[in-house]
Symmetry: D2
Subunit: 122 residues, 4 copies
């Protein structure tokens, strides 16, 4: 399945259940936020080491895949309702990030006392 | 660009900046949550009508695409770090939802006083 | 109960269960975020009118109070762990907002085509 | 300042700016979520050790207090708009948690291979 097929299946799913009227931009942003909250809850009490090993716990791994799927489904549905091409937007953002954060010299990194952030967002 | 290419570009991006050590599961879940917060802020004071028309405001539309891209980028990066196949997880979830929420009879819907929820998550 | 008593009860609660080691700043920020996600889920599919009437639905009202309590409990616990005086911080922020957003002339408001935002944050 | 005074100042603040119409339950839930996102962004790239020491960095400490204040302000405003007594709800929740999570025997805790969670929410 690629992104276009995913959008198409969601469109049919919503139409068959008469849920299109519920899928307003604000409602979908809230639903996306709620699903990220559920994903967060799976990781909140794990130590960093437990979090790294999360996918070796069968039940936890199932739940992680389930919540990540929900996040993608609502993000994709929101994109479709708004007319946003999600993959094109992501590609454009990576291009911008390449210019905004030039690759670092690793010797510099070794002397940096603060976290670099890995901040490709905001 | 498809999802595999997106993952590959992010892998190279993180490696070139020595950010892999920052990209722990917990940190990426937090980053994803922060980006959804930024997306939420774009819509929070809009009326439902203004939200529907969001993409006709050029500056707002640019910001919506930018924040949605960030959400996808961190979600995809988290999936890569955890070893989750995001598109397969989404497809499996749509399959489960098809069984969990049988299509409604529209006459029933007309008589239902409560929101159906459109709840394909949780 | 005032804020100091709330902090004290949470301190005793965490100590009696040996949960202090789990209550790191990052974990508590994630827990706060998760609870806001649960609160969001209560409202996401409601129409604006249904949301205004939420507290007249007994079951929904109970859940809203329960989730809002959780948000406050984790926010207060985070403040305590970090040594932040939450009420003083809130008072200082209201003072700053009074200067940052001078009261509007209602005639101006009537001519403003865009939402003012009510944005006392960010 | 106590919670009642905070609510009163926010009421006057919103009324003086004609923002009451923006302060619908759904909008305030979104604003709360957005502010928690900003708080999350302050902590997302910090190591657990850096996060513990966050308040010793003057600039970061200022931002943490500022974002925590915003979270409390929107939570309190939402409570006021919905007619929820936030402190009473928090006290009732602590009472329920006392029964739901009996204090642990520390010897048991020592043998528990999984995180206890410290989960006073959900």
């Amino acid at each position: 399945m690629d992104m276009d097929e995913l959008l198409e299946r969601q469109r049919e799913f919503a139409a068959a259940r008469d849920w299109e009227k519920d899928h307003t931009p604000k409602n979908l942003v809230m639903a996306l936020s709620g699903e990220v909250g559920e994903l967060t809850e799976l990781f909140q009490w794990l130590t960093p080491e437990q979090a790294e090993a999360a996918m070796r716990d069968e039940e936890l791994a199932w739940n992680v895949r389930d919540e990540m799927a929900d996040v993608l489904l609502y993000l994709a549905r929101l994109a479709d309702v708004l007319g946003v091409d999600l993959m094109a937007a992501a590609e454009a953002k990576i291009d911008r990030n390449e210019h905004r954060f030039p690759p670092r010299d690793r010797d510099d990194a070794a002397h940096d006392p603060r976290p670099t952030g890995g901040d490709v967002g905001s």
